[in-house]
């Protein structure tokens, strides 16, 4: 039975809490009036309005699982950004935030879709994939998941502790990090940009027909998608969310 069509409308959410993660990222926890839930992978459009009416709008992936009580957005502060510095430096608990969503059913995953699930994230591209991982956890689902996560440094790994906690004791969730700019002493993991060789070692075999979601800056997303298809993965089972040149 078809759901009754809903019109996407702007509303004013309340910022309930803001919480820094890495030195450049912050989570915003929101109460959204009339929120009917979302699917892991979807995003929200945020709109800021200045007193003279000037507006700026950006999209942010929902990092929380549909099962979570509050909606969480992960914001990375871009130094020359117009919206992200406001969200990370100025916005505080009690403020209103105009937004609309959830948006974009194509880049979404529900546990009942199965897998195995290959997730590839670059930096803040982890946000929608984190929603999928958290959703899988909340649903008590054991679809095999491999997350290949590219970050500049160990300190800059977003959601690092939570990912480690989720992976510990769950042999069906594997997290593989690669650090592209600096690695801590004794680091034995990958320490370069994702390339075809790394994907060949990390990804599920094409015979297993994984569902793949890639999210992050456009150059990373395009390289990984091309490499995976080159390795034999079906293009129709590889979904991409390009953040654009600056990464969101």
């Amino acid at each position: 039975m078809a759901e009754a069509p809903r019109k996407l409308a702007w509303c004013i959410a309340e910022v309930v809490e803001t919480s820094p993660d890495t030195s450049r990222t912050k989570s915003l926890f929101l109460e959204i009036p009339g929120w009917e839930g979302h699917r892991a992978g979807q995003h929200i459009d945020v709109r800021l309005t200045a007193e003279d009416g000037y507006q700026a709008q950006r999209s942010y992936s929902i990092a929380s699982a549909p099962e979570d009580g509050r909606v969480e957005l992960l914001v990375e502060r871009l130094d020359d950004g117009e919206v992200s510095p406001y969200l990370t430096d100025e916005l505080r608990a009690g403020d209103g935030l105009e937004l609309r969503g959830p948006i974009g059913g194509w880049f979404a995953w529900e546990a009942r879709e199965g897998g195995p699930l290959l997730l590839v994230a670059g930096g803040s591209g982890i946000a929608p994939l984190m929603a999928m991982i958290r959703h899988r956890q909340a649903a008590g689902n054991d679809t095999p998941v491999r997350l290949l996560f590219s970050s500049r440094s160990y300190e800059g790994i977003i959601f690092r502790d939570e990912l480690e906690r989720l992976a510990t004791g769950d042999e069906t969730l594997e997290i593989i990090h690669t650090l592209t700019r600096s690695a801590p002493p004794g680091w034995e993991g990958y320490d370069r940009r994702i390339d075809e060789e790394m994907l060949g070692e990390v990804a599920f075999s094409p015979d297993e027909r994984p569902l793949t979601y890639i999210c992050g800056p456009t150059p990373l997303v395009e390289t990984v998608a091309t490499d995976l298809v080159g390795l034999g993965h079906e293009p129709a089972r590889v979904k991409t969310e390009r953040f654009g040149p600056t990464g969101g």
Binding site: R100, I103, G104, G105, W106, F107, T218, K239, R242, G244
Partner: protein, 91 residues
């Protein structure tokens, strides 16, 4: 690599102002080359001047949208680039 192109999903916001059905999972047939695929899998060029969704196989403009915010709010929608849109119910 074109830095300004995004996935079709990026057009979901403005298209959701017009369509009440989920558009990114709609299947589109390109009127130029015949390729079919979900709108989310096509390429989207999104900016304040307008949104253009292009066929990922041949770059033909499948869907074009312009929105006027000031004064009488109006939308202009061009679907000449698709033979059809097959809209899906949610899974």
């Amino acid at each position: 690599m074109d830095e300004h192109r995004l996935d079709g999903n990026a057009a979901a916001g403005v298209l959701a102002e017009i369509f009440t059905f989920e558009i990114t999972t709609a299947r589109a047939a390109c009127a130029h080359c015949g390729a079919t695929g979900e709108v989310g899998a096509q390429m989207a060029y999104v900016s304040e001047i307008g949104t253009v969704v292009r066929c990922s196989a041949c770059d033909n403009a499948l869907i074009r949208v312009v929105r006027q915010d000031d004064g009488p709010q109006r939308y202009w929608l061009d679907l000449k680039g698709v033979e059809y849109l097959q809209l899906r119910e949610r899974l």
